[in-house]
């Protein structure tokens, strides 16, 4: 019994780290855009496909390193590529909606998600089917009693923690981060201070999309497969985690991610047939938050300026 609980705890933290990474991206993008970038989940889940494509074509034929090194290289390229994809989406699509009603940008990001998913489905060989994604480092790192913690779980949690720490420092201490926060708080004032909004958008989209890509890769490894439409649910979970934690707060994203992953893991483990319903519970939690505490756990209620 207790072993099982321990095992679930480990699953929970592994999944929660992934959601937290996604949530941070949503938060950052919401800050500058003013609306939720609904296709962020789909963009993040492009990364596993890029990595697979690299593994199956270029690296397979070259076979420079073999094994784990190939995978690492493919993942790094995928993260960079998705970061650039984020920039491109901002530049060629979302920039047109910067001063338009929020509803338009919102619907556009939802439609973008569809376009991305459909493109994967059509462009990737047999894109409609699930594709196995390698779970590296499945070997046990250490054991807690009889429960084994794999190196992958260690990598997952450690990389998420590291990235989130780096992001917090980046946002507080560097010029890039300060400018992102300035634009998030008041775009007009930032412009008057001579901040180049386009550059800030570029940086934000790159950082958020690359973070999302890491989350996407971890997600695919965690599940063991990936499919063109995994981005919908992963995205909704990431957004929900951001909302629960409070948009704009990195600790909030972590707590939100852990909370949501907790509900999912708990539903899966403790409720009969809970696997099928796990998202139902997660979303009911989100809706409850939106009704009773719309600003989230760590968010500040923003009073509209009149």
């Amino acid at each position: 019994m207790s072993e099982e609980i321990l095992q679930q705890l480990i699953n929970w933290i592994a999944l929660g780290s992934i959601y937290a990474l996604l949530a941070v991206g949503f938060s950052l993008l919401f800050g500058v855009l003013g609306v939720i970038h609904f296709s962020h989940g789909d963009i993040s889940l492009v990364a596993p496909f890029v990595a697979l494509a690299i593994l199956q074509t270029a690296l397979a034929s070259l076979s420079w390193f073999g094994g784990a090194a190939d995978l690492v290289l493919a993942c790094l390229i995928a993260i960079a590529a998705v970061g650039v994809l984020g920039i491109a989406i901002d530049r060629f699509v979302l920039r047109a909606f910067r001063d338009k009603p929020a509803m338009m940008a919102l619907v556009t990001t939802v439609a973008l998600g569809i376009v991305i998913r459909e493109l994967i489905r059509h462009l990737f060989p047999q894109g409609g089917n699930p594709h196995a994604f390698p779970t590296p480092l499945a070997e046990p790192a250490f054991a807690l009693g009889n429960v084994v913690v794999s190196w992958f779980t260690v990598l997952d949690v450690a990389s998420a923690t590291a990235v989130l720490l780096v992001l917090s420092i980046l946002l507080r201490k560097t010029g890039v981060g300060v400018r992102i926060r300035a634009v998030s708080q008041d775009r007009e004032a930032a412009r008057l201070m001579g901040i180049d909004a386009n550059a800030v958008f570029r940086n934000t989209f790159f950082i958020a999309s690359a973070t999302g890509a890491l989350a996407g890769l971890l997600y695919a490894s965690y599940v063991g497969v990936t499919r063109f439409d995994f981005g919908i649910l992963a995205g909704l979970m990431g957004f929900s985690a951001a909302v629960i934690g409070g948009l704009g707060s990195i600790p909030g994203a972590v707590i939100g991610g852990l909370l949501l992953a907790g509900v999912e893991t708990f539903a899966q483990a403790a409720i009969e047939n809970g696997t099928a319903y796990r998202q139902v519970f997660a979303f009911l939690l989100v809706i409850a938050f939106l009704v009773f505490r719309p600003a989230g756990l760590f968010g500040r209620t923003v009073t509209e300026k009149v």
């Binding site: 609306v35 609904f38 919102l106 556009t108 376009v115 929900s240």
Partner: protein, 394 residues
């Protein structure tokens, strides 16, 4: 009715001019639709599309002609309704028993109703509701379950399922009281996913296998599974549903128009532009948002019931998030807050992908691209919303 000032020059041709024009234009449109639907040759299809596109561009370049046409329709409103209705009723008779085309038209009709339903939110009040597909599904499942387990027929199910869906519409509307924009969109998406997953996993809805054996409706002893025979003509059984759905469109148009030209439509439009300013005119914004959800669900449920009884089989996959996005595409393409535009959008986006079977796999991709393109290039849709006119001071 909503007429422009009847100044001398406009009034002089009398009703005859506009009346005749309206009849001819409607007949021409019906003929083009007929050709488009029945032609086997892709040359005709593409030619018609090109002609329609060119015609639209021409109107676009000459707004005064567009105004003139809408004026004529306004003046000869009764003629337009009677002739349009007659053409719609007569249309199946010219199809020569082609049940596939009839099927396509029924689906287009149902989507037109769904698009009109969503238009109350997206068009009138700017509420991004991604759950219309869920309401559609709730309506379909409610009436199907009532029919299978309790023997309640189509007509009773129509009313009952609308009640059920409206209840859920209110439930969905409650979180909307305290949320806006992105958050509200999340609530509706989450609601859609929850509904889909519940239907997919509960045993009494048949789970992923869905429900089969929904009996055909009857009206005055006539079963909808039977063909219609009138005056020596024999229409395939689908015609029953064609006419039912047609009546539903008629009803939806009446409801939509009446709400639009009332204090309620005005209140929705006010909160679309500026929620806070609307509140400061004494509008109970919360109530009007919830109301928009309820009306949307109510009408979507009607469409759902007809769909369930028409196909006779429903499964969770008929009512996914993507259905909601499809409906939204239709509203955006047709023109938000423009009743005619929304119906046109629904017909276009149902019929076009079917006509290009090669591309049918790319339908969703196409929708996505169209939505983004429209919002970037012509956000007001093919037929933009128009300003209200009042009689007394017009």
């Amino acid at each position: 009715m909503a007429m422009r000032d009847t100044s001398e020059e406009r009034a002089s041709p009398g009703l005859l001019g506009p009346g005749l024009f309206v009849i001819l234009l409607e007949a021409l449109l019906a003929l083009l639709l007929f050709l488009f639907l029945t032609s086997e040759s892709w040359i005709v299809t593409v030619g018609l599309l090109a002609a329609a596109g060119a015609g639209f561009l021409w109107l676009q370049r000459n707004p005064e002609i567009e105004t003139r046409i809408t004026d004529w329709f306004a003046q000869a409103r009764l003629v337009a309704i009677v002739v349009g209705g007659a053409l719609a009723v007569a249309f199946p008779f010219f199809l020569g028993g082609d049940s596939y085309v009839l099927h396509l038209l029924i689906i287009a009709e149902l989507y037109a109703v769904l698009a009109l339903a969503l238009n109350f939110q997206l068009g009138s009040a700017n509420i991004p509701n991604f759950a219309t597909g869920a309401s559609y599904g709730i309506g379909a499942y409610a009436s199907a379950l009532l029919a299978i387990h309790f023997g309640i027929g189509f007509w009773g199910g129509l009313v009952a399922s609308a009640m059920v869906a409206t209840f859920f519409g209110f439930v969905l509307g409650v979180p909307s009281m305290r949320t806006r924009e992105s958050y509200l969109a999340l609530v509706t998406i989450a609601f859609g996913v929850v509904v889909h997953q519940v239907i997919n996993n509960v045993t009494w809805t048949g789970g992923p296998n869905g429900l089969v054996g929904i009996p055909a409706p009857t009206l005055f002893g006539h079963s909808f599974a039977e063909p219609i025979e009138v005056l020596g003509f024999r229409l395939p059984s689908q015609a029953n549903f064609y006419y039912t759905a047609l009546a539903l469109i008629g009803l939806s148009i009446v409801v939509a128009r009446r709400l639009h030209h009332s204090r309620i439509g005005l209140a929705w439009n006010a909160l679309r532009t500026d929620e806070l300013a609307a509140r400061c005119q004494g509008i109970n914004v919360t109530w009007y948002k919830v109301l928009a959800f309820a009306v949307d669900a109510f009408m979507a449920a009607f469409a759902g019931t007809i769909y369930a009884f028409y196909i006779g089989y429903i499964s969770p996959d008929n009512f996914t998030f993507l259905v909601s996005v499809t409906i939204m595409t239709m509203v955006i393409v047709g023109g938000m807050d423009n009743i005619f535009g929304v119906i046109l959008g629904a017909f276009l986006l149902t019929v076009l992908p079917e006509k290009f079977r090669v591309f049918s796999d790319y339908r969703l991709l196409l929708y996505g691209v169209i939505v983004i393109g429209m919002l970037m290039v012509r956000p007001e849709g093919l037929f933009p919303k128009r300003l209200r006119r009042y009689g007394g001071h017009g």
